[in-house]
Subunit: 575 residues, 2 copies
Amino acid sequence: MGKLLRINTREKTFTFEETPEAYAGLGGRALTSKMILDEVPATCHPLGKNNKLIFAPGIMSGSPAADSGRLSAGAKSPLTGGIKESNAGGLVSQKLAKLGITGLVLEDKPEGDDYAMIVINNDGVEILPAGDLVKKGNYDVMSALWDKYGKNTGILSIGQAGEQCLKGASIQQADMNGNPGRAHGRGGLGAVMGSKKIKAIVVDDKGAGRVEVKDKEAFKAANKRWVEMLRNHPVTGEGLPALGTAVLVNVINEAGALPTKNFRQGRFDHAQDISGEAMAETIEKRGGIPSEACHPGCVIKCSNVYHDKEGKYLTSGFEYETIWAFGAHTTIKSLDDIAMLDRLCDDFGLDTIEMGVTLGIAMEGGMIPWGDGTAAVELLSKIGAYAPEGKIIGNGALFTGDALGVDRVPVVKKQALPAYDPRACKGVGVTYATTPMGADHTAGYGVTANILAVGGSIDPLKKEGNMELSQGLQIATAAIDAAGLCLFVAFAVLDNEDGLPTVAEMLNAQYGLELTPDDIIELGKSILRNEKEFNKKAGFTAVDDQLPEMFNDDFPPHKSTWDFTNDDLQKTLDF
Amino acid sequence: MGKLLRINTREKTFTFEETPEAYAGLGGRALTSKMILDEVPATCHPLGKNNKLIFAPGIMSGSPAADSGRLSAGAKSPLTGGIKESNAGGLVSQKLAKLGITGLVLEDKPEGDDYAMIVINNDGVEILPAGDLVKKGNYDVMSALWDKYGKNTGILSIGQAGEQCLKGASIQQADMNGNPGRAHGRGGLGAVMGSKKIKAIVVDDKGAGRVEVKDKEAFKAANKRWVEMLRNHPVTGEGLPALGTAVLVNVINEAGALPTKNFRQGRFDHAQDISGEAMAETIEKRGGIPSEACHPGCVIKCSNVYHDKEGKYLTSGFEYETIWAFGAHTTIKSLDDIAMLDRLCDDFGLDTIEMGVTLGIAMEGGMIPWGDGTAAVELLSKIGAYAPEGKIIGNGALFTGDALGVDRVPVVKKQALPAYDPRACKGVGVTYATTPMGADHTAGYGVTANILAVGGSIDPLKKEGNMELSQGLQIATAAIDAAGLCLFVAFAVLDNEDGLPTVAEMLNAQYGLELTPDDIIELGKSILRNEKEFNKKAGFTAVDDQLPEMFNDDFPPHKSTWDFTNDDLQKTLDF
């Protein structure tokens, strides 16, 4: 069993602690959520000394299992006021696992203004002054740290947004090229890191051994089936590698579920211009990278590198939700403007979904014109300049709506809705409303059966079956997040009877256990129960499990309305 | 029985409606809170079309009863997200009562950007374009409206803050000199008026008869005793007329309960400089008015007019809580700077308590230096200039804390704490925590028995007796607010056995009823029950009835701590 590495950010001290019994066998989201419930007072200020920021590799991370390199970050969220887990690819998860670190816990809070950075390697831990990294963006930070600590070092860092403790702040991870293309985006966890005055964390596993696998042969056999499953599924084997997640622009637009101009309609006239097809063509033409893994051992490779008109690197990890948020939601139709907005978010350390929705609200409130990419870039740049406008929009959609007196703000639990309209994709709508995370498609991706015909088919416009769909997916997702697996493995798992048993087999081979698929489902349930309990203690009620008023309106082209009662929604996670 | 005047702000239409049975006999806060519970969906957006802004004269308003001219304004609060009642003096309450209007209800919301104004007189109602009043401050608005509609007309208006729908926005009332010296300050009701695009409401009772009093002789006799009671009490007969509410600066400082530098200690080194004694001396010297009524028929006369160094009018209605908020809380020690901040708040239409606490948070977050009056005036001026900084601070203390990443923000239910430290004046601390209004001293002014030895004496530093003190005062206050009586009558009522019976006698004589003092208490309870029910529907829980973490710290000069459990607090309004 691994160790917990606790760092006191006020005293600049650290301790390694044998993982206590209560946390035994937990990893990823299972560990972060359990620790937050047990150790963080639910009514504490998210930026205060009593909050904790916890990083935990999934329990399969560091093993040779395909697509198991996701790292969970957890805390009480400055954005939602509830519990938060946000996971990302990158290099850190596998390295922590190899160093035998189950959880990295940032505690307390310094009184002064000085930033520190943390270096973790096989020799131990150093807590150093952050020096001239302060006030720098993530591109500069990561480049400096790779120069100093070597290429392929794992990096977690915050940009100007996290330093300002903004609710939209992310924690970025160095991707496989050392750029900040991977993000713990949602829920403002970068602000928690900023409040603890930690600018960056460097993780180097040089000299560390491999992660122990008890039954290597059994593991290898199961992993072989696992890789084949992922490669043979049309989504993980074809769609995602070819066009990245942006393959969804045309698909969701066709389904009439692409929220356009602040959720006024489900089709965007210029969807073609910002589609995955258009993106892939541009990447090819300009010499970018159309398909890339977000962490070693990924076989799906849905990430990418996007170049500018001059053929120079502009951004990477350019995703569907980002393109939607800055595109259809704001009616900006230039993919280059959208790519620049994505780059700024990666550099300043900001959640692209929250920021895209926020720019739409800024347009709604008359701060900048609808569809004006240049104005959007200028406004977003204010965050990096520490300007007052930046302190408004950097705090997200609801905050910006409040600053501007806008009453049409698409949030649940104060977090901006992602790229699928809940009225035209009700499975994901139920997830938005009920997940303890605040509106989040990744918490229970009902798009599967609603639109992609993965794991069966459930009418996206009708109520029937969508609560059950969301429930099943939320439970499964929580377990996937605990394993450190990429969410996209769910496509293959849902369509393969052998999916979940294969995951169980790998776990059993790695740890010498005898888990059944039911045990994995039970793990997912227990995670959700812990998260709901924290939120209840923090003051959340059924009122927080609703969509805002604006979704009572009709939604063209469909005439579907949001027809779930509060009681319906309360039943979704009642198990 | 009077009529409800409902105005549809979208269609620019109005209807007079016989007061329905459910609202019969209710006035002031009793009516606004009941209507909001019955007619406003608890989860609606406070700035959306489903919120309503309701003005209601107290049930004694318009009668000859001394100190009965308070007007209640109610809505779902943009600041707290809960139910709100905020009452003020001025001229409107008695005039509405004389026009036979029990309640004035602003409904719906226009889609465009044009502002309207409403003129109500004995001939009916006109809804007119607001024309060049738009973007003007309340001083200009009221001056223009008195020029056009005659002196002594009742005016309700919003300044630049209300137009921007800021959470700190007040609705100001013309005082007896036509200046915006009276405020429906707390809870951001000016933002609700702004969202409905109503710039001003003019109320003229010319030609309207007197308010009917069924038994004139009995009324006259009871009112005579009432006036004597008010004149003979040391607080309402001496302290308040002599020094205004600012008499409290030295008293509360002496008690070690004057929150200084964002609630770090209970004594301010420069309390003398901002005391009521200093203020009265300055007013006398410069030719201001040391004592003035806030509405016709007031015998306490705690208002005032404060002149600048040149002997010209600077501000009026200069109150203890304002002086504390801009003074001890921010450590600004110049009374002239504080008076200028008060003037700006009246002009832009802002709650002085919320804004003073906010400036302290802006100092806490490094936006301006501690104690710098000039910088504070400059920063507050940004609200009138529609600048981004104004959109931050105009939204109040919590919002500003969030914008700046400050974790030390004294709010309950998102509303800033007033001028009495809850650890050194626990009776009012219990009120802050438990009133449905958000932190509000006027909701249950425990300072009486805690510090002023009015209505008995209860140790301000101990837990014992303070829950009961707050409960009793909250019930009585709700009834006082329903009657349209000034809260300060409570001093005399608490110290006179004949107090409450005299109020009952006046009510019985006015309406031909047979109310007992117990009926009045029951009315107070029913108001609080309605308010709690609304808040529960809006998602409030016991978590919202707590003080924030920062009050767990010790509080010099006393070593008192905040020692109420959640269960204690939940019992306070459990009846």
